[in-house]
């Protein structure tokens, strides 16, 4: 906090992996409560923008994953991202950099979510700042599926609300 964060380019092989959308993505976040402590989630696909910014769309922030992302942003807490391809797994140290609820990047993430389902939603989009990246042989920690929102947080243009 109270500093400028510098983004750097991801290694080319990692960028290609993300851009090809062929890896499984797992994110371990520092959950503040229920549960408390590091929790790993299987995430929807990640985006890489400009070769350096990692973007994640979140359907609902009122979940353990959402709380973990906020916790990382507010208190500069580290998270771990795993990108698992058939033959290789990369482990990245990341932090939440920015939460977006409006603007061109948020809109792009929302439209991406709505490609297959026009009534799909994301509540917010997250920019992650990566700090280190290396292949790993370590086994993945136990993961939880992505939390399902209790009540959908619909934007007013959502077809489910419209005439």
């Amino acid at each position: 906090m109270f500093q400028l964060y510098e983004k750097k380019k991801l290694p080319l092989e990692v960028r290609k992996l993300i851009e090809a959308d062929r890896c499984s993505v797992y994110l371990q976040v520092p959950c503040p409560v229920n549960p408390s402590g590091p929790v790993t989630f299987s995430c929807p696909s990640l985006l890489c923008e400009n070769g350096s910014t990692l973007l994640l769309g979140l359907e609902d922030e009122h979940t353990a994953l959402g709380r973990g992302l906020v916790n990382s942003l507010w208190f500069d807490r580290e998270m771990t991202l795993w990108l698992r391809d058939t033959d290789i797994t990369y482990k990245l140290s990341v932090k939440s950099l920015r939460c977006l609820i409006t603007g061109p990047v948020f809109t792009r993430m929302l439209l991406r979510a709505r490609l297959s389902d026009p009534s799909a939603e994301i509540s917010c989009a997250w920019e992650l700042l990566w700090q280190s990246c290396a292949p790993t042989q370590e086994p993945l920690p136990a993961t939880l599926p992505l939390p399902v929102p209790a009540a959908p947080d619909l934007h007013l243009d959502n077809p489910r609300l419209r005439v």
Binding site: F2, R67, V70, G103, T107, H155, L156, V163
Partner: protein, 415 residues
């Protein structure tokens, strides 16, 4: 006490390690104000940020350059909203500058860069007019996800000098009176064409006590407008009406005849002796105790957590009649919050920004520490009662530092 804002912020965060530093920063920016550098203001004239020159709340500000449009609210990196009265005279403001090499706005204290910020983007429907020729942006105000409609650009409490002491709404002149329903329908229809742009509709206006019973005319007006909004939706839509404390019969009409989901009759000031002094119009046409009773009764119609009431935090410490100490003010507000929470009502704070055209005039604001303790206390009390904001959280509203704190709470399993 501190020589720089960095010292202030870092020490305050260290003293409150469990509190979001973004809430601390937001409160500090609200207290000290923000200036826009010429470079920043120039970049804010670009289509992404240019909000034009209309202010639907009609507040007059003297320090705004005539040839430049003002932007929307500032967005911090955690998406929280900082609503600045651009053009006010601030004593020791922050500075927002534009860095062309980073292509980002920088929040600074002199030359010291504290963080990057952004601004609420201009909505796609700005620049369009209704079929009656009304510029759509003249009917609304905008936050990141909130579409604010003003039903009535007058407040009749000003007749006879009964306006709330802190209020400067509609002092800019040029009031449009009552909004046209067809204009509202078309504006909302256009606004919600933009994917993911809005998740909340907020309706308010100046108070109008006319009618067979006080506020009957106003209730009729709000119903007409909400029905016009509702033509765009198949059922209820996330929305809040900020209005006086109505009778149950009036509220029942509002709920049953429209798609409204939440209601907010602002108490403004809790203290029994201060209320009639700072809100003489509300005292005259409803009365404090009746206002409180009606607010609690509204839960029966809208449901627990769907009725809110707000205080103008800091006005309770204003001269000449306000509390003399911060402790007294905190005690009063926490007592109010506890009472309302017990009755299923969400009690929130908004930050008082003194204005020269209000009855209270320009006064020094309470210190940052007051607002930090207030935000923390209100959040803690509501959480203990399982009350969390839906319509007034950081995303659907953005005007309440205390509700910003809810983002770490286990919201779903408690409610």
């Amino acid at each position: 006490m501190y020589n720089t804002k960095r010292e202030l912020l870092e020490n305050t965060c260290a003293a409150n390690p469990d509190l979001s530093p973004f809430v601390i920063l937001k409160l500090s920016m609200l207290c000290d104000g923000v200036l826009l550098s010429e470079r920043a203001l120039d970049h804010l004239q670009t289509p992404l940020y240019n909000f034009g020159k209309v202010d639907s709340f009609g507040i007059q500000f003297q320090g705004r350059p005539a040839d430049k449009a003002m932007p929307g609210a500032i967005l911090l990196r955690d998406a929280s909203n900082v609503y600045i009265n651009y053009g006010e005279a601030f004593d020791a403001p922050y500075l927002v500058d534009w860095d062309p090499s980073r292509e980002e706005f920088l929040l600074k204290d002199g030359e010291d860069v504290l963080d990057t910020v952004d601004f609420v983007p201009r909505p796609a429907f700005f620049g369009k007019s209704t079929s009656r020729g009304t510029p759509m942006e003249s009917l609304v105000d905008i936050r990141a996800q909130k579409l604010i409609l003003t039903a009535y650009e007058r407040c009749r409490f000003w007749e006879g000098g009964h306006q709330c002491g802190f209020c400067a709404f509609f002092t800019g002149g040029g009031s449009h009176g009552e909004a046209d329903c067809e204009d509202i329908y078309e504006t909302v229809r256009e606004a919600v064409r933009e994917p993911g742009r809005f998740s909340e509709i907020f309706l308010s206006g100046g108070s109008d006590f006319g009618g067979e019973h006080p506020f009957d005319d106003e209730v009729d007006r709000y119903i007409r407008i909400l029905q016009a909004v509702g033509r765009n939706f198949s059922g209820r839509f996330s929305s809040q009406l900020m209005a006086p404390a109505y009778t149950k019969a009036q509220l029942r009409r509002l709920y049953e005849e429209t798609g409204l989901t939440a209601y907010c009759p602002n108490i403004e000031i809790w203290d029994e002796s201060l209320f009639p002094l700072l809100c003489p119009g509300k005292e005259k046409y409803v009365g404090r105790n009746e206002w409180i009773r009606r607010t609690v009764d509204a839960v029966e119609i809208f449901g627990k957590g769907k009725v809110c009431t707000q205080v103008v935090a800091g006005a309770e410490l204003s001269s000449p009649h306000g509390f003399k100490t911060i402790e007294e003010a905190l005690e009063s507000n926490f007592k109010a919050c506890e009472f309302f929470a017990r009755n299923g009502v969400i009690f929130l704070s908004t930050i008082w920004r003194p204005h020269r055209y209000s009855k209270l005039g320009y006064q020094k604001m309470p210190p940052l520490d007051y607002y930090i303790r207030l935000s923390r206390g209100l959040h803690d009390i509501r959480r203990a009662y399982g009350l969390f904001c839906t319509n007034d959280d950081y995303k659907h509203c953005g005007n309440h530092p205390d509700s910003d704190l809810e983002r770490l709470d286990d919201y779903v399993s408690v409610v």
